[in-house]
Symmetry: C2
Subunit: 389 residues, 2 copies
């Protein structure tokens, strides 16, 4: 087994989900540094903030008033990145030489859609790390209902969606009718912390739905489909979860439904991948039991992150699953998983920058995913700030 050598030599690792490579420099993590010791973050925010545009009952910038909601609350982002309706766009007709070049080199596609904001809790001062699985469950349920209601009529998962909508109790504050025009893709993601450009600590995520399939999920879907073709219909993430479970060294945590690993190809120092253990194509396929397991897994990741540097750990996270409008083949290739991309490197204040060589040549990391997983394995148990006197 020569893999132990990878603790010591510079090398690059292949990301089969995207086809990208990442440069790993494990010897660099041995360089000297002043282990910065920050006072642990205890959080002294109020449970309700009258100036927060997400707190129940408050007024938002555009004048709308939030309802006195209980846990999740969804609304259309006042400054969405995409518009629901807009003028039609078609590239101008091509005739002269210059127009020919423009058709090749100045390519644009119109994008429509709708962007939502969704709160995780009525409490201003909690995060997923503070929330028990039972408190996270309503978030999973809301995600599932929103995903279900946005699936196309002919979607391969339509029957499962109808079943989910029938079995999960509706939350009048946590749902909105989908736009009249069928969209192609839904990205559920959370930006947490000022380091991720998120200024409001009220726990929430965003949900962007678009008329196009964005690059990153498109790339993953193509790679997942290719793997199936090349390996007799096997699933990349099923094989990967099996392999990592057997190896153990990159596993952070698991329950019956989900595996949490620092993936072999992680870019961010403490990047984590949460993988469904069976072939779940989208949220609507999770059983009631699996929704609870998913809530438990999400809480587990968030708590271990906070415990690692005794801080409210910043990250971007997001779910990849079947597009909301897709072919049978695309749905079949999809495998439910969630990425966590946290920027912190060594302490609550020393972060990793994706700059320079990363932008111009190739992403690079110092500590190995095996080292990261080992540290995250040790961060289990009670949330550190609940133990502070």
């Amino acid at each position: 087994m020569s893999d132990k050598l990878l603790d010591d030599i510079s090398h690059r690792r292949y990301n089969p989900l995207t086809g990208d490579w990442i440069l790993v420099s494990p010897h660099r993590s041995k360089r000297p540094w002043q282990g910065q010791q920050e006072a642990p973050f205890r959080g002294d925010l109020p449970g309700y903030d009258p100036t927060c545009y997400l707190c129940p009952g408050n007024q938002r910038a555009q004048g709308d008033q939030n309802p006195p909601y209980q846990n999740t609350f969804v609304f259309v982002n006042d400054y969405s990145a995409v518009k629901e309706t807009q003028q039609d766009y078609a590239p101008s007709s091509r005739s002269s030489d210059g127009e020919d070049l423009a058709a090749r080199l100045l390519q644009a596609q119109p994008v429509t859609g709708r962007c939502y904001v969704l709160t995780f809790s009525a409490k201003h001062n909690v995060t997923l790390a503070d929330m028990a699985p039972a408190d996270i469950l309503p978030v999973i349920q809301t995600w599932t209902r929103i995903y279900a209601s946005h699936l196309s009529a002919s979607h391969p998962l339509r029957p499962q969606a109808d079943k989910a909508l029938a079995s999960i109790p509706p939350n009048p504050d946590g749902e909105l009718a989908p736009p009249p025009r069928q969209l192609r893709y839904m990205q559920i993601f959370e930006n947490k912390g000022a380091a991720m450009g998120c200024s409001n600590p009220h726990p929430h995520c965003q949900i962007w739905t678009t008329s196009v399939l964005p690059d990153e999920p498109a790339r993953e879907l193509a790679q997942l489909a290719r793997y199936r073709r090349e390996h007799g219909g096997q699933h990349l993430l099923e094989d990967y979860a099996r392999l990592e479970t057997a190896r153990g060294e990159r596993v952070v945590w698991q329950n019956d439904g989900f595996l949490v690993v620092c993936p072999w190809w992680a870019t961010w120092p403490f990047e984590v991948l949460l993988i469904a253990k069976r072939h779940v194509r989208g949220l609507v396929e999770l059983t009631e039991e699996e929704r609870k397991q998913f809530a438990e897994a999400v809480g587990e990741v968030a708590r271990r992150y906070d415990n690692l540097f005794e801080t409210s750990f910043p990250y971007s996270s997001g779910i990849h699953q079947a597009p909301i409008d897709c072919t049978e083949e695309e749905a079949e290739a999809s495998w439910f998983h969630m990425h966590f991309y946290p920027p912190l490197l060594r302490s609550a204040t020393v972060r990793k920058f994706l700059v320079g060589y990363e932008l111009l040549a190739e992403p690079q990391r110092d500590i190995t995913p095996e080292q990261a997983a080992e540290r995250l394995r040790k961060c289990g148990g009670e949330l550190y700030r609940n133990l502070l006197s």
Copy 2:
């Protein structure tokens, strides 16, 4: 001409250099914001800092002493991301089922190489924006000599390299013999400013040479070669420079040798692409006159950036050119250009974050490249801080 419509609708644009897409939301730049007004940065650093590990005569962490150099000075990075020599690595032999999966899903390649640090000036308190073209010229000359000396013996540009080495005066402080083992690729890049994780203001860049071709230049090279195949041997960046010169709306500045544009597919708000106007494959093909023009262009970009928000503008920049070991076809497809990726969005302190949707789905921007180019066109002239009384 329906392109005017792109000022108003959400759309995505195609990057032909990488094959990626970028989501553009121009309507969002109309959202209200408090125009943060920072005091202009004047710079009050000393010309020499006894604690700087880059200043002439100072001692570095590992104990080496810098020479009393005049402008450029190069040394091997004490904590390089890649090692020059290391144990050989070969993935373990495959037998059982688990090993088969590992061969597919846990792929690694060893990477060797050498990383340099190169100062731009003996002065601690200047940046490229402060330096006249005549002061930047030694940097271009040093880049050229280092690139030339690292080219393989059979490189298609070897004759040009020998000519450049004969015509550019050597700088004993600005060069080192290349490693004995021929490497594949050299990435010259600069990280400027704390926002880019660069803590030392002494003007300098890094040069990482590796035994592999990293992902980003590999992707560009493949796209450039494909364009040539599909369009009768034409060059993508030649066509693009011609088209942008004719259109004008994304042009920031140009001289006889180089064009500076905010590219159609820019990800960062004020991203800039500097393109050679004729087919230059690598630094060694620049004529003496072109080296001066390149120095002028680099200074022009840096000064306009600083003038934009009256600050020392942070960015990552880097040169893409022919790999230092490559085939005739790869060299022929290469087209000398330089990227500038700056994070600032609205002021010296309001930055763009590449997080959330950008990481999970697709990069997104608000202001259009046309708007960015217009603002940068207006930022010419004297460096703002030279005009402060």
